[in-house]
C-alpha cells in the first residue's frame, strides 16, 4: 500500500473552488483528507516538495487521436498515452476515426483492453455518431455507451444531413451520452486546405471560408434547442463561431465549445512557405479570428482547452501541401502554449481558470469521475510550474510522431509531474 504527501504546493481544485497553499495526501490511489488517514503504518510515505508549484487535479484532454486500431505507424495507444503523461494529462478522450472506425462495441472493447494493458494514463474512448463515420446511418449508440464510450462524435468528419444529426442527438439524449461535433459544412469547405482569406488568395491554395464552420455551429445550436440535449463544438476557430456560441449560451442553450492551442498561437500567415506542419483541420485562421477566440476564452464562451493531437508520420507529411494529411501533434506542447499565451502573454485568464478548463469543465461535460481533488477521488494529480521556461524540442517527444509547428518555441509554464491513481507516471 502506497502513500504520498505533496507538500507546500498551491492546491487549485476548481471543482471545489479551492485555491490555497496546502499539503495534499494520497493513500492507496485515492485523495485523502489528512495525514492521519494514511492508515497503514507500514506504508512507505513518498514526500514530494511542491513549493512554487501548482497542485492541480489530473488534466483532461478530451480531444486526441491515438490512431489505434489501424494507424500504429502514426501513434499507438501506448506512445500516445506516454505523450499525454509528458504533457501533464492523466485522462485523454480518443477519437473514433480509427480503422476500423470506433462505431461498434467490439472496437471500443479492443481500445479499452489495449489501454488497460499498455497506457500509463486513463484512455476513454469516444464512439462514432454514424456507421463508418459516413454520416448516413446511426451507429449503435446505446451499445457503444454500454461498451464504455464517454461521448459520441464523427470527429474528422461531420454529419452533413441535419435530419441524421437531429436523430443522433435525440437518441444520445435518451442514452445520456454527450455529442461532440467537428463543425464543417462540406459544400462550403469543398476541397479547401487553408483558411479562405488573404493568404489563400496570395498563394493560390484552395481556401475554406469561416462560414463553413459557422454554418454547422449554428446548426448545432438549433438542434441542441430542438432536442434539448448538449452538443459540444470541437475546435472552434472562427469569430463568427464564438459570436454564435456566446449568444446561444446567454440564452441557456446546451451548447459549448473548445479551443486548440495552434488556433490561438498562429494565424494563416504561417502557411506561406507551404510547410505542411501548419496544415490542420480546421485551418489556421486570421488575426481577427484569433482575437475573437481569446475574448471567447476570457468571457467563458469557450470553456474547454484541448489539443486535437493528430499524429502523422514524417513520410506522410513530407509531400505536396494539397496532398498532406491535416493535423498536428499537441499533447506535449499544449499546456505550455496555453499558459504562456493565455496567462502570461495575453493575460486573458488566470492559471486557476486555465486548470478549470482542463479539469472540471471537461469532467462535467463528459460526466466522468475525474478532474477534482475531492477527498475520495482517484488520485490523478498534475504538478504545474507556471513560471518554468523551456524550449520545445520535437526530437524529445514521447509521441511516435513529430508533426509540430512549435519546434524551438520558448515557452513559460509546463507540467512537471503527472500522477495517475497515486503513481507518478512521468516527471520532468
Amino acid at each position: 500500500m502506497s502513500a504520498t504527501i505533496i507538500r507546500n504546493g498551491r492546491v487549485i481544485d476548481p471543482a471545489n473552488k479551492r485555491d490555497e497553499i496546502a499539503d495534499l495526501y494520497i493513500a492507496d490511489g485515492k485523495i485523502v483528507g489528512s495525514k492521519s488517514e494514511i492508515r497503514n503504518p507500514k506504508s512507505e510515505i513518498e514526500e514530494i516538495d511542491a513549493k512554487g508549484l501548482i497542485v492541480a487535479p489530473g488534466l483532461i484532454d478530451m480531444h486526441v487521436h491515438l490512431r489505434e486500431p489501424g494507424f500504429a505507424h502514426k501513434e499507438t495507444i501506448e506512445s500516445g498515452a506516454r505523450a499525454a503523461a509528458a504533457g501533464g494529462f492523466t485522462t485523454v478522450v480518443c477519437m473514433p476515426n480509427t480503422s476500423p472506425a470506433a462505431d461498434n462495441p467490439s472496437t471500443i472493447a479492443w481500445i479499452k483492453d489495449r489501454a488497460a494493458t499498455v497506457a500509463c494514463v486513463n484512455v476513454l474512448p469516444a464512439g462514432a455518431i454514424s456507421k463508418n463515420l459516413a454520416g448516413e446511418e446511426l451507429a449503435p449508440i446505446g451499445s457503444l455507451m454500454q461498451a464504455g464510450v464517454v461521448a459520441i462524435t464523427d470527429d474528422g468528419h461531420c454529419v452533413q444531413n441535419h435530419e441524421v444529426m437531429r436523430r443522433a442527438v435525440e437518441y444520445a439524449r435518451m442514452v445520456g451520452v454527450p455529442v461532440l461535433d467537428h463543425c464543417q459544412d462540406y459544400n462550403l469547405v469543398g476541397n479547401g486546405v487553408v483558411h479562405e482569406g488573404y493568404w489563400s488568395i496570395l498563394l493560390g491554395l484552395p481556401g475554406w471560408p469561416a462560414a463553413g464552420e459557422e454554418a454547422m455551429v449554428m446548426r448545432n445550436i438549433l438542434l441542441a434547442e430542438l432536442c434539448d440535449h448538449h452538443i459540444h463544438c470541437q475546435h472552434v476557430t472562427t469569430a463568427g463561431g464564438v459570436r454564435l456560441l456566446h449568444e446561444a449560451r446567454s440564452r441557456g442553450v446546451k451548447i459549448s465549445g473548445e479551443v486548440c492551442p495552434h488556433h490561438i498561437a498562429l494565424t494563416d500567415e504561417a502557411i506561406q512557405n507551404f510547410d505542411t506542419d501548419y496544415k490542420m483541420n480546421p485551418p489556421l485562421r486570421s488575426q481577427a479570428d484569433v482575437d475573437a477566440l481569446l475574448e471567447g476564452i476570457a468571457d467563458g464562451t469557450l470553456s474547454i482547452l484541448c489539443s486535437d493531437h493528430a499524429p502523422h508520420a514524417d513520410f506522410e507529411k513530407e509531400v505536396e501541401f494539397d496532398a498532406a494529411p491535416f493535423g498536428v501533434v499537441g499533447l506535449e506542447t499544449e499546456v505550455g502554449l496555453f499558459i504562456d499565451l493565455l496567462v502570461h502573454k495575453h493575460r486573458k485568464i488566470d492559471i486557476a481558470r486555465l486548470i478549470g478548463m482542463y479539469t472540471v469543465e471537461p469532467a462535467r461535460l463528459l460526466k466522468i469521475n475525474a478532474g477534482t481533488l475531492s477527498v475520495g477521488a482517484c488520485a490523478d494529480v498534475t504538478l504545474v510550474d507556471p513560471e518554468l521556461e523551456w524550449t520545445v524540442k520535437v526530437d524529445q517527444f514521447q509521441s511516435a510522431s513529430r508533426n509540430s509547428p512549435f519546434n524551438g518555441w520558448k515557452l513559460r509554464g509546463r507540467a512537471v509531474r503527472t500522477i495517475v491513481g497515486g503513481k507518478t507516471v512521468w516527471k520532468l
Partner: protein, 309 residues
C-alpha cells in the same frame, strides 16, 4: 560570370525584387538577339543536365524550356506524370531525389499543387525552376509577359494593365500581378465576382466587374482562359453568359485604345474569352509572347544554372 544573380531557384515572382526582374529581362535581350543569328546555340550550360518534370500537361511551356535548354547546350530529359513512377505511388520527394542521384543540375517542375517547387527546392541541391504550380505562380510566363510589354511599349511603369478572366484559379494572373506591381504598373482584374473575389484588392490591384469601363483605359489587356478542369459548376452560369459579360468580342475590342496590346498566355479558347479575329488581329502580341518566352527562359536557366551550391 558575375551577373549579380544569387538565386539557385526561380520559384515565383513574389520573391523577386524589381532589380532582379530587370536583370532577367536584360539578360533575355541578349538571348533574343542570339535567336536571329545563323548559329543559335551557346555553350553556357554545356555539360549540365536539365530535367523537364511535368506532372501536369503542357505543350508551350515544356517545349519552350526544352528548346531554351538546347540553345544553351544543356542535356535535356523530359518526364511527364504518366511516364514517371508517381503513377506507381512514389512520392514527389523520392522521384526528385532519384533524379538528383542521377546528377540532374536543373529541375523544371510543372505541378498541380501550389508550393510543390518550394517543397523540392528546400530539399534538393539542384536548381528548381517553377514552370507552374497549381493556382500559385508561373513566374516565367509573367516574366515573358513583362518582357513583351516592355519590348512593345518601352516601359512598364505607369501603364494600365487589365487582366481578364479566371483570376482565382490562375497562376499566370498571380505572377503577373506581383511582377507588374513591382515594376510600377496599374493593374485591374476583371471577371465574374466568383472568380475575382474582392480579396484580391489587398494585393494592391483594382477589381472591376464592368469590362466595358475598363477596356478604354487599358494599355494592355491580358486574357486568361476559363479553366474548365479546375472549376466546379457553380462559379458562373455558363459559357454563353460569360461571353456576354466578359468575352473580348470584336465589338468590345473597338473600345480599346489603338495601341493597346492584346495578350494571352495560351492555350486560347477561340470564341470564348477572345474572338478569333481579335486573337489574330494587329493589336495581338500572342505569338510574340511565345517567341519571347524562349529568350526569357534561356535567361532564367542561364542565371539560375550559373549558381553553384
Amino acid at each position: 560570370m558575375s551577373t549579380g544573380w544569387t538565386r539557385k531557384d526561380l520559384l515565383g515572382v513574389r520573391e523577386l525584387s524589381a532589380d532582379e526582374i530587370n536583370l532577367v529581362l536584360e539578360t533575355a535581350d541578349a538571348f533574343k538577339q542570339l535567336g536571329t543569328r545563323e548559329i543559335k546555340k551557346v555553350p553556357a550550360l554545356r555539360g549540365k543536365t536539365l530535367v523537364n518534370f511535368f506532372v501536369e500537361p503542357s505543350t508551350r511551356t515544356r517545349t519552350s524550356f526544352e528548346l531554351a535548354a538546347f540553345r544553351l547546350s544543356a542535356d535535356v530529359i523530359n518526364i511527364s506524370a504518366t511516364t514517371s513512377s508517381l503513377t506507381k505511388g512514389e512520392t514527389l520527394k523520392d522521384t526528385a531525389r532519384n533524379l538528383e542521384a542521377l546528377h540532374a543540375d536543373i529541375l523544371v517542375l510543372r505541378h498541380s499543387s501550389a508550393g510543390a517547387p518550394q517543397f523540392l527546392a528546400s530539399r534538393l541541391k539542384a536548381s528548381v525552376i517553377n514552370a507552374g504550380d497549381g493556382a500559385h505562380e508561373h513566374p516565367t510566363q509573367a516574366l515573358l509577359d513583362l518582357y513583351t510589354i516592355r519590348e512593345r511599349r518601352g516601359k512598364i511603369a505607369g501603364l494600365h494593365v487589365a487582366i481578364i478572366g479566371d483570376i482565382l484559379f490562375s497562376r499566370v494572373a498571380r505572377s503577373n500581378i506581383f511582377g507588374l506591381l513591382k515594376l510600377g504598373a496599374h493593374v485591374t482584374l476583371v471577371g465574374p465576382s466568383t472568380l475575382v473575389p474582392r480579396e484580391f484588392e489587398k494585393l494592391g490591384v483594382e477589381v472591376s466587374y464592368q469590362i466595358d469601363d475598363v477596356l478604354p483605359k487599358a494599355d494592355v489587356v491580358n486574357l486568361l482562359r476559363i479553366q474548365h478542369e479546375r472549376q466546379r459548376r457553380e462559379y458562373f452560369p455558363g459559357i454563353r453568359e460569360y461571353i456576354r459579360l466578359f468575352g473580348l468580342t470584336k465589338e468590345r475590342a473597338k473600345r480599346l485604345k489603338p495601341d493597346c496590346l492584346i495578350m494571352h498566355p495560351g492555350p486560347i479558347n477561340r470564341g470564348v474569352e477572345i474572338d478569333s479575329e481579335v486573337a489574330d488581329g494587329l493589336q495581338s502580341v500572342i505569338l510574340d509572347q511565345v517567341t519571347n518566352g524562349l529568350a526569357v527562359r534561356m535567361a532564367v536557366l542561364y542565371l539560375c544554372g550559373g549558381i553553384v551550391t
